[in-house]
Amino acid sequence: MMASSYSTKEEDGHQSGAPGPGGGVNAKSRKPDNTAFKQQRLPAWQPILTAGTVLPAFFIIGLLFIPIGIGLYVTSNNIKEYEIDYTGVDMSSPCFNCSQNYSWNSTKPCRCSVSFSLDQPFESNVFMYYGLSNYYQNHRRYVKSRDDSQLNGNLNALKDPSKECEPYRMNDGLPIAPCGAIANSLFNDTLELYYNDPNGTKTLIKLVKTGIAWWTDKHVKFRNPVGDGSNLSAVFQGTTKPVNWQKYVYQLDSDPDNNGFINEDLIVWMRTAALPTFRKLYRIIEKQGDATPTLPRGNYTLLVTYNYPVRSFEGRKRMILSTISWMGGKNPFLGIAYITVGSVCFFLGVVLLIIHHKYGSRSNNADISS
């Protein structure tokens, strides 16, 4: 229709439209289309953030977040966690000796045992972690020092690992399997847990070592190379072990489903941690029956085969026992944050309400007068 029709009222549009055809004939094809998009008149929702509109949102957030936060906080507090540092920095600590005279090549393993007691019984499944501090697994040189295709079972990569693995790529002219700094520094302390019965006997607690890695890692991302025979040692023929390892990769475990590259301890270690203080899942203590707690309260002994040196870079080693809930491990931060944000929102809601009442009417009046 006519160019000016929509800016006028509808009745006017009709009037001006009546003599319109004459003008319409003259109009050339250069006349722009009168589509809503081209005229920037698309129908639109036009929200405005005012105190009035935001108020309900603030109250809703407040009312929603505080209960969630309390729930999270309570859940987190119900999780039982026990942490013990066995680095052996102090003279008095049982692992002091092991931590002092250490060498990679020593054939005789150094053992030390640490006693501790649990005040409360740990119900349901208990997860056992090792924790390291001041350990930069996220260092760039370290993170990239791996060959994912080698770990995926690629035979070419097995014999000719990626350049990224330097300087842990070749040893004595043989390719290292698995190559790289990450694999080379695999955590190799052995932790065993004993329950000290009040009657004096020590019971070894059964630690499950499978099911600790991501299912996809274990079954897709990490693959053993497929050779002629089923024998892993034959497949790894022509490769050598990482410099700091005491055994070959095909000797990591007796279970063929947990050996070689698909060894779960290796897989867990290969997932580099985000921060210099981290913990990694070591073992799972499964619940035996309904009657008894997984870990009853009482005294325990942690038997450490101390292989992993951390003193040189002022690192620490810890053992952590923890139960879990629907939201994972012990995590007071999330609960506290939710409660804080919820209350802040609620408070702001109240403030805004006051402002809205005081100034909202004033600005409206000003509008009318202007």
Binding site: A3, R30, L42, A44, D147, T216, A274
Partner: protein
Amino acid sequence: MDFSALRNLISRYCTGEENWVDSRTVYIGHREPPPGTEAYIPQRFPDNRIVSSKYTFWNFVPKNLFEQFRRVANFYFLIIFLVQLIIDTPTSPVTSGLPLFFVITVTAIKQGYEDWLRHKADNAVNQCPVHIIQHGKVVRKQSRKLRVGDVVLVKEDETFPSDLILLSTSRDDGTCFVTTASLDGESSHKTYYAVQDTKSFNTEKEVDMLRATIECEQPQPDLYKFVGRINIYQDRDEPIARPLGSENLLLRGATLKNTEFVYAVAIYTGMESKMALNYQSKSQKRSAVEKSMNAFLVVYLCILISKALINTTLKYVWQSNPNRDEPWYNGKTDHERQRHVMIRAFTDFLAFMVLFNYIIPVSMYVTVEMQKFLGSYFITWDDEMFDEELGEGALVNTSDLNEELGQVEYVFTDKTGTLTENNMEFIECCVDGHVYVPHAICNGQILSGSSGIDMIDSSPGPDGKEREELFFRALCLCHTVQVKEEETVDGIKRGIHQGKATSFYISSSPDEVALVEGMKRLGFTYLRLKDNHMEILNREDEVERFELLEVLNFDSVRRRMSVIVRSSSGHLYLFCKGADSSIFPRVISGKVDRVRARVEHNAVEGLRTLCVAYKALSQEEYHNMCQLLDSAKLALQDRDRKLAEAYDLIERDLVLLGATAVEDRLQEKAADTIESLHKAGMKVWVLTGDKMETAAATCYASKLFRRSTQILELTTKRTEEQSLHDVLFELGRTVLRQHDSLTHDTFSGLSSEFQDYGLIIDGATLSAVMKPAQDDSSGNYREIFLEICRNCSAVLCCRMAPLQKAQIVKLIKASKEHPITLAVGDGANDVSMILEAHVGIGIMGKEGRQAARNSDYAIPKFKHLKKMLLVHGHYYYIRIAELVQYFFYKNVCFIFPQFLYQFFCGFSQQPLYDTAYLTLYNISFTSLPILLYSLIEQHISMDILKRDPSLYRDIAKNCLLRWRIFIYWTFLGLFDSMVFFFGAYFLFDNTTFTSNGQLMTTNTQMIFGNWTFGTLVFTVLVFTVTLKLALDTHYWTWINHFVVWGSLLFYVVFSLLWGGVIWPFLNYQRMYYVFVQMLSSGPAWLGIGLLVIISLLPDVLKKVLCRALWPTSTERIQTKRKCLTVEQSTIFMLSQTSSSLSF
């Protein structure tokens, strides 16, 4: 290089004889002149090939790459890319190479395609056939083979293949008609003249006989200037020299009309033709937004460098402990160990630069350019700026300045054709003080309001009768109007019915058409120009014939024109017509006072006045004049100046006949537009060549001056009485006193009482003010003048020469606030000011299209300026301001967590995010929502912006890109990135942030690694940044919903896909299942939600509080409108229900 060319070159520098240097000699038909006349120096000229293309097939790749990398941004990214290739950097070269490659390729394809089109067009032009006369025969040749000196035959409706000198035409009088529509858009037919001595040549043979040379200036781009001389050798006599002017020069690109054929000789070919010389693009204007953007970029570059420096320093401090530098589990290669520490430090610095380089993203440039390019379509599409009469809408010649339209502080407008219709109506004439009104006779009606004296009553005595008829004849003869006997002619058309065919008067000046038509209504009809004789039909229906001897054309400096004619009785007359100021000083007799009084009266009414004078010439006088003119016309150098001098000598000692008055109506809604611009806080200056009274009347009519406005005059009349110095100081005092009291009044609330000032200044006074300082005191004039102007809401500058218009604009541009100026005009005389101002707007008017061609934007009518500035300008500004700020914000959010992460990974340049995320963040995850926002955001509806011009003040002075706001956005970005990073940090640190390894089963839990950490931060980042934009969006169309939610969805789908497959072409699989594992963990969901809300909270709070406590007028309107729409919808619903009830 040819030897003669070399010699030519040497002679240019050695002889120092300027005449030789600046002219060329063309031998017509390449025939040497008779020996002995002049040395035959063959000169080399380029062939007639037009090359508008930039590249050839071979040099496209290197030249295009060179062109592209000359841009600083592209070069910066190239450097980053090369650094990544050369040294061991944290991110793969793909992350910066891919976007750069993408940008470069897209640009190259676009430019290549455009160039291919140009090649095609060039080929079509270069290969089209031309007819060349060789040895008396017509030969067909390809256009590109045409050489200077060739004689060309051009037929009707053909385009001239090069710049040609017209030798002869099929018409007896040696004229031809030409339309230059493709050159300057003027579709009216223009008349060109053949050389007098050759115009009789009608066959190829005759033309071939011609022996002549043409001396002319070297090519220059001005389409309307040409000086030359043709020397015709006949037998062995001295050559006959004839002047050549632009009326003899047929321009390449123009088309021959209404003429069967012409013979012409090529003088400028190929790239030397005036059309090709005009291809050169105009100088680039840069908008204020772009300047702030560049300033921000420099800040970010400093931030980038300081970040890299800080991290490098800290890295070496931290690494001073060898166990940290190289712990046993993380050994270096021998190669790394051996490198010198300085080299290592330098590589580390570069690596940090690379890691943080995304803070200045490639995509910002691309997005800004796309926004400008695509956004400008909304102007061309605008239906409201389409003019039915012209059949044209607004034109965008450059999209670089869209946002500048929202920043205008000073509007400089032309009067005639811009504020007014330039559609002239003859109102009255006054002969010796007797007033004649044509309507009284024509329609037999007595017009009310016309000033008393009726023509018939006032018939003076026989002497007066004679003067009266002389006056009418003068007006019928003293013009350059052509008569067209055609049905449709574009341009200015007026039908005159003579019984037979309809004819039109055509002229480049609408005033002349109005005058000739007015004369027709008073009984004297100009019929035609035939064989150099002008024919007039007088009152007794007799045809009078006058031989037209000379035309002294109009120019804007002289402001008058003259003709010399010989009547059938043999008397010689000079008729002169021009502005009163240029006629009165040259008049020696006549009733000057009475005419002057009438002229002034009419001027106050807002009419355009012209005075007419004549002089009877004796044969002798005429002879002298001819000599004077001929010598001036033949001059090759300074012809214009010499002509002006000659004209000055000729046009003097005149006898005043009378004056005319022509009305130029105001354009539709001009007053409304000016009022809106005033309300929007813009200062409107009218710059016109018209006389003061006329211009002032127009200003009152267009509400530039209101009744309450106190007018300050700074005119020659006043400066004659007092010295300029005193006047300036007095005015300055008046204005400043007001200004001071105003600042006091604002506190006492009396500000509404303040007086607004209007200033009127004329050209002569202005040049006195602008004159460079002679002594100490005059240096201040400029300052005082500026001070006065700054306090005036409206300024009228009359009697301005075109160049003075540009001077004024420049003066204001350079004043200490550096305001943004806009110039709007329609004629060739406005081009200089259009080019000078920050934004130049051309009106597609009646005086040709030169202004529109040279402008940045062209609009059909002055009233469209309102929508252009208040709506489009406003929108473009807020859109691009948000675009710029948001881009910096989102990249701070993006990169700052990486910076923080360095403190937790031993400053090892470990990237936080995966390569794919680094690459795609700016390209795809967050690019479309902001692009769409910057295209279609409307914070207030169009109608309100138009209705309430004062909203324009809210965005004045580039206020959305002030440093304060920039810093706010940067700090918001810093805050958000802290929230992302430390939020994720606390979720990971000291607690087990874990997930179930096997989906759907809850019996195991795993630990997340660094890639999950990065993905968590990145997810929060993408959501926050997108939602932040969503909160800023005030205009949610379905496209917005689609793009905002679509890009979030795309991010999720991409992440699932990216982590869902073992990609065989990658040598790492670090992202495998990371995203899914993260989402399978409850705390991740809770954490993402929490962090997004915390990040958005301060901004929402700030917005709400500012709106409630210190609302801007924009915000008030928004709130108010919201209330209104609610009310309206309620009313609508009520009416709906009531109507439904009634049925």
